[in-house]
Structures are given as structure tokens and as C-alpha cells.
């Protein structure tokens, strides 16, 4: 039985997805690939001096395609291409059905058979669910939700005040 009671935002796991300039502020982002506000935030953070740590928070009845997209990104991650898939998913949220996911995997030069097997695997589902549950425990209720990570302490950041942290 998974624990879902309150807990702080976990410190980075070894298989978390983190990118950005070393030494830049770290922002933990709970998001999903079908969420338009997440796509807008992705645009807003592009080119900023920030390290983004991306965690999945797909809520199926809100965004029915978000779970499959999250699993696709993790299948791409197992071939070393998470961020490329992440960017391609946010670039066109109108196309998130299976053929569109295969097309992106093909464009990235992924092993398609492996990609398709892994995105449906228990391991990938558990990986996405782990992120989701960590968000639930931290009190995340919607996407995107941001936390600034500083010396192991996570502090929630309002998107309106993000500019103060990430100029």
C-alpha cells in the first residue's frame, strides 16, 4: 500500500530529470504534457538561468492523454532522450495520440519497438506514479505547481512570483 499522507517534496532522485546551468536556482515542477499552463510555463522558462527538475503529475480525468504522454517521455528517457521528447510534446499539445507519439519517437531516432514496449511497461507506469504520489504528498493539487529547491528545502513558488526567483 502506497503512503499518500503529507510529506515534504523529495530531494532529487538519481533518475529525476534535471536540466539547466549548474549553479542556477533549482525549480521542481509538477506538470503534465497536456496542460496548457504547463506549456506556457515551459515557454516562459526557456532561456532563463534556471535548473528545471521535472516531475509528472498527470490527472487522467482532467487530461486524458497526459498519462500516456508521461509514459512516452519515460520510455524516451530510457533511451536517453527525455528532454527532447519533453520539448516535442509541449511543442504540439494538439497531437498527443499514439500515432503522434510514435512519430516523435521516430523523429528522435528511438528504437520504436523498445519505445512502444517500455511506454506500456509496469516499470514506466510505476515511475510516473511515483512522481505523482510525491506531488500528492507535498500537497500538489493542480498543474503546474512549482517548488524552489534550496539546500534540500523545497518552498512553493507562485508562478506570479517566479520572475523574482528566475529573472
Amino acid at each position: 500500500m502506497h503512503r499518500l499522507g503529507s510529506a515534504p517534496v523529495p530531494e532529487p532522485w538519481s533518475d529525476d530529470h534535471l536540466r539547466g546551468a549548474l549553479g542556477a536556482p533549482v525549480v521542481v515542477q509538477y506538470a503534465d504534457f497536456e496542460c496548457p499552463f504547463c506549456a506556457a510555463l515551459h515557454e516562459r522558462l526557456s532561456g532563463r538561468r534556471v535548473q528545471v527538475l521535472y516531475r509528472h503529475f498527470p490527472v487522467r480525468s482532467s487530461h486524458p492523454r497526459a498519462w500516456a504522454a508521461a509514459c512516452a517521455s519515460e520510455a524516451a528517457a530510457s533511451q536517453g532522450r527525455f528532454w527532447e521528447m519533453h520539448d516535442l510534446l509541449y511543442a504540439d499539445q494538439a497531437r498527443l495520440e499514439d500515432p503522434h507519439l510514435w512519430r516523435r519517437a521516430q523523429d528522435l531516432g528511438l528504437d520504436l519497438e523498445r519505445f512502444d514496449h517500455e511506454r506500456r511497461s509496469d516499470e514506466v507506469r510505476a515511475r510516473v506514479r511515483r512522481d505523482f504520489e510525491s506531488g500528492v504528498r507535498a500537497g500538489v493539487v493542480t498543474t503546474p505547481t512549482l517548488f524552489a529547491l534550496n539546500r534540500g528545502e523545497a518552498q512553493r513558488v507562485d508562478t506570479k512570483t517566479l520572475d523574482g526567483l528566475v529573472p
Binding site: 500500500m1 502506497h2 503512503r3 499518500l4 499522507g5 503529507s6 510529506a7 490527472v59 487522467r60 480525468s61 482532467s62 486524458p64 505523482f132 500528492v136 504528498r137 507535498a138 500537497g139 500538489v140 493539487v141 493542480t142
Partner: protein
Amino acid sequence: MISAGALAPEFTLKRGDGSDFTERDFDGQTTVLVFYPFAFSSVCTDQLNLYQEVLDELRARGATMYGVSCDASYSQTAFREQLGVTIEQLSDFEPKGEACRAFGVYHPGGFPQRALAIIGPDRVVKWTYQAPSPGDLPGVNLIFDALGE
């Protein structure tokens, strides 16, 4: 809002099939009541969608969740079906808000406060929470805290 430790009040809500849901339905199970202001409103939509994601974990802890609002059963059913959630809905439509008043969560604006209550199988209220405002969505972690994690 009614306090933890109190015996659940007498009340009658309507299930989607028109049958009654009363305090007697608390017997023998742990019940989570989710009082929400309005079907189809944005925060209520987010709330039910999010809570739906953890229903299996709630069931694993022996808890059953119900949504409660003053909307008519037909509206609640349409809301639930549009979202694709399975959380059973209970209507406090007529006499409007009577059950919400009994739990102390009737907003003067004519709708339920956004509030949560856990009632034990002995009809004793185990835990309650009222959001600071109807626009605030309580994290579902609070429910799991209250269930004893």
C-alpha cells in the same frame, strides 16, 4: 463545522438513483464526505478529478468517498459523467442545504462550503476540515493524514 468526536447528525441526501443516503449508511464503513460548492465549477472539477486518482488507495484503507453538493441529482450525474469520475454523488437539493446545515457547512451564499469529513463505522465524526475559502482546493494528502498515515 461539526467537530471531530461528535456523533454524525441525522440527515437525508439523495443518491443518483433517487434512493436515500442517511446517517445509517455510515454503519460498518469509513466514509469520506467531500462537500463542494457547485457542479461544473472550475475548482470542484479539479477537486473531483484529483481525488478520483487516489480512489484505489482510499478503498485499500477501507474508506468510501462521496461528493456532496446542493445541485440536483441530474446535475451531479451529468457532472460526474462529463468528468469520467466514479465518486458517488449525494444531492442536498431539497430541502436545499438541510444536510449541509446539519454538518455546519452551509455557506450563506446558498451552497456548501468546500469541506471534508471522515465518519467512522460507528457514526462518530473522526476528522473534519473546512477550506479557508470555497476557492481553495484541499490536497488529498490531508485525507490520508486523517486516515492515520
